[in-house]
Structures are given as structure tokens and as C-alpha cells.
Subunit: 200 residues, 2 copies
């Protein structure tokens, strides 16, 4: 059985929940209290030395990092091959958006944490600027294609960018400047077997 | 011809220079002045909207992000298939270290910039702690294998982590606590066609 160590409010965890849903994979959710720092406790760092959520355990095979988990699930369970295509150029483009999702788009996650958890705001505008730079890259890619890597079918590159782009406004970044991103958010939510998340 | 937009002091650029060297690929270097912010000028953001180095141009095909460029070069030019193996589990493990290289190990890069460029040190200890967490993950992986993904041959996961781990001491993080990482640094430098970098 697949076990997902999960925090319901985490967009990184949501990437994995979405992928499990799209692939129709049965799984157990193990809630870990992120706000209380439970992932820093020894029982958890024994499983994932990076002390991060999400973490996947597939019958004893442990995979950490949300992007790596997407690759794991696509390569092991996606018989269509469409979620992480093998073609070298498409794979490269998907990788670009896995990295954008982990870098500029992840800045939107930290802006969101700052606002939602009422943390000190000394880095908020820096995070928002970085996040907007990421949204601008998405906007540009989505102005000529339905999906970020330019494919006819969504890929894990779309999933990697979706949750924190979709929740940008929780970090006080308006999405109205990014109409193609907004339309893409709608397309993703309309996909068969889409898994919903509170606030998204 | 392959063209690499490059900054000689950048470890991210060095990842690509190393890969080009290992694969024996002829290329032109286009120096971009990182310290002067030349990558934010319009001529460059027209090429790479993320305004980042390195950026690769392979006969008009532009690829940004150092990790994505490693994937591009491996999938297009590595006939051995060993640098980014196709096997799902190995690919997943390599991905984990591409992400570690972009996250905790990248914190060592920012610590290095802070120290070398005499920037304000208010975030230095936070960056060093994050970097040490990354080195601890590397140390653990390298205590049971020669290469980070547990393969018999180095992968792009090794390349992604190598430059900033290898230059950790330039950010005032001692490597003496990580003997397996030190031995691995030596193994990488001893590889055929290794490309050297000043200060590494």
C-alpha cells in the first residue's frame, strides 16, 4: 500500500495528492503536524532525513521531495507515459517547470505562510517579487499552449506549479495580471479525477 | 554549435561546464557579468525570462535552469545512458539529488556569495544551517555508495550537488565533519575529462 506523510494545508503535499488522484492510486494518508514541527521529530527524520513533507512510502520504498515523488509515480504507475514523457525535449521542458515550481513559484508558498501565519513581513515583498517573476514565466508559456511544457496533455510540470500559483492570492499576490495562468488553473480543476484542496 | 551563457564564478554554470566536459561536447562560452546584473538586461531576458545563468543555446533551442540543462544534455548526448538512467527507481533517486542540489545545497551558494561579496550577514547562519542539513543528507547517501544515487557510475545528481558542496568552505562551512563528502569530492575531481573551476 502507498502511504503519504501529509499536511493538509501544504501545497507541496497537494501536488502528490493530485497525482495519486489522477493515476487512481489507492493510498493511506498519515497526517504530520507541520505547524508544530512534527516532521523534525526523530521518528520522522528516520524516514526522511530532510525533515520535509510530503514523503511517500510505497511498500517500504521511501521517496522524498514533492518533485521527485511526481517523477516516481509517473515512471512507476502512469501507463500512458503522458505525465512525464520520455521524449528528450519534452522531458527537458517538464524539468524546467519542476524547477520553476521549486524556486520562483515556491516563493509564493513562503509569502502565503507569512500572511496566513501572521509572521514577520520583512521578506514578504522580496518573496512576492520572486513569485511574480515565476507567474510571468508561466503566463508566457501558457499564452501559446494549454499546458506548461507545450504538450497536448498535462504533465507533472503543471502539477508542480499549480498549487502555489493557484493559492498566490493567499500571499497577497493578485492573479488578475495573469489571465492565461487563471485560465490554466480552471483547466486543471476541470480535469477528470482532480483532487480538491481547501482554499484552492 | 552549443552556446553556454556563463559566469565563471557560478557553481550553477560549473555544473553545465562539467557535463559538457564529461560528454566531450564542443561549445562556445558567452560570458555574462553576474555581479553587474547583466542577466537582467533585455537582450538576456529575451533569451531567458528567468534572468538566470546558466542558459544553454543548442542551435537555437534554448534551455534554462542548470538542472534542466543537465537533463537536456544527458538525454540528447549521453549515449551510455548512465548519467541520467532510464530505470524508474534510479531516475527517482537522481531527481531527489537534483532537488537537494537546488535547495539545501544551493543555500551554501548563498552563504558563499554573502561571505565572498561581503554582503550583510543577517541571514548567513540560517543559510549555513540549511547547507549543513544538505551536506548531512549527502554524507548519509555517500556512506554506503560511491555516488549519490547509489549507482556504479556518477549521475547528473552528483554533478548537481558537487560545485556548492565542494565550495562550502568559501561560505564558512567546514567540510571536515563530512568525510564521505570529502572523499566523493576527490572522486569527482579524478574523473576523466573533469573540468576544473577556480577555488574548487
Amino acid at each position: 500500500m502507498i502511504k503519504l506523510y501529509d499536511s493538509s494545508l501544504s501545497g507541496n503535499c497537494h501536488k502528490v495528492r493530485m497525482m495519486l488522484g489522477f493515476l487512481g492510486l489507492a493510498h493511506d494518508i498519515v497526517p504530520v503536524d507541520w505547524a508544530k514541527g512534527e516532521m523534525k521529530e526523530a521518528w520522522f527524520t528516520d524516514i526522511n532525513p530532510r525533515a520535509q513533507l510530503p514523503t511517500l512510502d510505497d511498500n517500504g520504498v521511501v521517496v522524498w521531495d514533492s518533485q521527485a515523488i511526481l517523477v516516481y509515480l509517473a515512471r512507476h504507475y502512469d501507463e500512458s507515459g503522458l505525465w512525464f514523457p520520455d521524449d528528450p525535449m519534452t522531458m527537458t521542458k517538464v524539468m524546467q517547470f519542476l524547477m520553476l515550481g521549486n524556486e520562483e513559484i515556491a516563493a509564493l508558498a513562503w509569502a502565503r505562510v507569512t500572511v496566513l501565519m501572521k509572521q514577520p513581513r520583512d521578506r514578504l515583498s522580496e518573496l512576492q517579487s520572486k513569485g511574480k517573476a515565476g507567474l510571468a514565466v508561466l503566463e508566457s508559456a501558457l499564452s501559446t499552449a494549454d499546458w506548461v511544457a507545450g504538450t497536448d496533455h498535462p504533465t507533472i510540470g503543471d502539477i508542480a506549479c499549480f498549487p502555489y500559483a493557484g493559492m498566490a492570492e493567499q500571499g497577497d499576490v493578485a492573479l488578475s495580471a495573469y489571465p492565461h495562468v487563471q485560465a490554466w488553473i480552471g483547466r486543471i480543476k476541470a480535469l477528470p479525477n482532480y483532487t480538491a484542496m481547501p482554499g484552492l
